[in-house]
């Protein structure tokens, strides 16, 4: 089957010759494995953006599936967590949060809905800006913080830098490695190798994945975000599968080291501890949530405020949200185009599920870059 952009002319590679070599190597390697499909998973919205933006799937051999796992922290922010933010906002507490979080649906309301009802919801780009907002007034301000470990490090740094007394944190931070465990244990996902996100590994180091790779007998390759970085990492993964290597390779050595950023890790774990918690659409992930340690109780909005979410729960899901496939998309079981709502009832301006809200959500990325990015035989 020829792919949608079969001649590669539309691919925006800096070095088209190198890209051709790498895609040819992918085809040879998949063929040598003698089975189809071979499924590889990445766990990073930025990887999906790059794959879609540069049309990488068009050049992949049809027997190779590259899918996105739970790599969008906004998407996995649980309904209950959104409800907490909405309840606080409706109680009259001023909320500062990252842009994507505002439209994210809760059980019955989003922060945008609360805002429309008069609640104070401020969009910030960084934890530092949230602290500045708190400093500028005496009013309590809650920073509703989302993001994986890379972003949690910034929240930790702010907590450690003595924020003003009216500042506190509602943490929806998540920790990716336990979610990879959960996906690796899903028999139906049949993931044979993982691409780990380069900039998260800048913090954690690639050594973190060694134990995971051994236990699940699944290779892990840390990859950068350049199209050629991603192709080279896929080649490396297939070579490791062929050779039965269950280890970790670093295909992004210019930014990632084995031990990672120790100072950032120290800050992260001084402030947060990993606890079991729900991921939207996926379920409870053991040690998947980052909660402020007891020591920082005075800065923890959950301990500081009585948050009553009971008024936000709904007896029944809406008809639309029942049909949403976000949860299955986030563990790689189905693709956005398998969802009957994708591009019809569910659009970036009126998202049904979380995957269409965030710039790192699979559905929004596919929609924005023109639907199914690979077209390989099924369009």
């Amino acid at each position: 089957m020829s792919a949608g952009t079969s001649d590669g002319a539309e691919l925006k590679f800096r070095d088209p010759g190198r890209a051709r070599e790498l895609t040819a190597a992918l085809a040879r390697l998949v063929q040598s494995l003698g089975r189809a499909p071979v499924t590889l998973m990445h766990v990073c919205g930025t990887h999906e953006q790059a794959i879609a933006r540069f049309g990488l799937r068009a050049g992949l051999p049809p027997a190779l599936r590259v899918i996105m796992g739970p790599g969008c922290p906004v998407c996995v922010t649980d309904l209950c967590e959104v409800d907490e933010g909405v309840a606080l906002a409706l109680q009259g507490v001023r909320i500062a949060t990252y842009g994507d979080m505002v439209k994210l649906p809760g059980s019955s309301k989003s922060l945008a809905d609360a805002q429309a009802e008069g609640a104070q919801v401020e969009v910030v780009y960084s934890a530092t800006q949230a602290v500045d907002l708190a400093r500028a007034s005496d009013q309590p301000l809650v920073f509703f913080a989302s993001g994986f470990e890379t972003t949690a490090v910034a929240t930790a740094a702010i907590v450690l830098a003595q924020p003003p007394a009216n500042f506190s944190v509602l943490s929806a931070h998540k920790y990716v490695p336990p979610a990879m465990e959960a996906v690796a244990r899903l028999p139906e996902a049949r993931v044979e190798g993982f691409l780990a996100a380069g900039h998260a590994a800048v913090i954690t180091g690639f050594g973190l994945f060694e134990d995971f790779a051994r236990r699940h007998r699944t290779p892990v390759v840390v990859a950068g975000f350049e199209p050629l970085d991603i192709l080279a990492a896929l080649v490396k993964l297939l070579e490791m599968i062929r050779d039965g290597e269950h280890g970790v390779a670093n295909a992004y050595p210019r930014c990632v080291t084995r031990e990672g950023n120790r100072r950032a890790q120290d800050s992260l774990w001084r402030v947060f501890q990993a606890v079991d918690g729900p991921w939207r659409g996926i379920g409870v992930i053991p040690n998947g949530n980052l909660q402020l340690r007891e020591e920082w109780a005075a800065l923890d909005a959950r301990r500081r405020f009585h948050i009553d979410v009971s008024g936000l729960k709904q007896a029944a899901q809406s008809e639309l949200s029942r049909r949403c496939l976000c949860g299955k998309i986030m563990v790689g079981l189905v693709e956005p185009t398998d969802c009957p709502l994708f591009g019809r009832e569910c659009l970036p301006d009126s998202p049904v599920g979380a995957c269409m809200v965030s710039s790192e959500g699979t559905c929004k990325i596919w929609y924005q870059y023109g639907g199914r990015p690979d077209l390989g035989g099924t369009a």
Binding site: R14, C44, G45, T46, Q49, A50, R53, G71, C72, P73, V74, Y98, G99, D100, M101, V102, V123, Y125, S126, A127, T128, Q129, S146, G147, F148, T150, T151, V153, A154, A156, A157, L160, A161, A197, G198, H199, A200, V202, I203, G224, F225, E226, R254, C255, N261, R262, R263, A264, S267, S358, S359, E360, K364, I365, Q368, Y369
Partner: protein, 130 residues
């Protein structure tokens, strides 16, 4: 250190020229989303305690140094994520790291999520002093 770095940013002059115009949309705060794992490289041009002044393709911003892995000096390049430097990029690796970002910065299309995330990442830094 740093003669090599000087050169690599010099070659990004065309990007510098258009960046101020890309910069304005950042003021419309609700338009862009949070970048979750994208970090962007910039050159340190000033240091004041835990705060560095960093040149990102011609735009000067302030970046916190609380969690960066190694001591940062003037002329170093750092990878910034939501307003914090998360890595000092070794000099030999600077040029390679700048390439993708230079191209993205030049893309300038609101519909381009990767470019939009790059702008959001810049917006997470504080306004710098020249």
């Amino acid at each position: 250190m740093g003669r090599g770095e000087q050169d690599s940013i010099g070659r990004l002059a065309p990007v510098r020229a258009i960046l101020p115009s890309l910069w304005l949309p950042c003021l419309r705060l609700t338009c862009y989303d949070l970048p979750m794992c994208l970090g962007i490289p910039g050159k340190v041009i000033g240091i004041d305690g835990l705060e560095a002044t960093v040149d990102f393709f011609g735009v000067t911003r302030k970046v916190r140094l609380d969690v960066v892995d190694e001591p940062v000096a003037l002329g170093d390049y750092v990878l910034n994520h939501v307003g914090f430097a998360i890595r000092r990029i070794p000099a030999a690796e600077v040029e390679e790291t700048l390439k993708l970002f230079a191209e993205l910065a030049a893309a300038g299309d609101d519909q381009d999520l990767l470019a939009a995330d790059l702008r959001a990442e810049l917006a997470a830094t504080q306004e710098g002093k020249k």
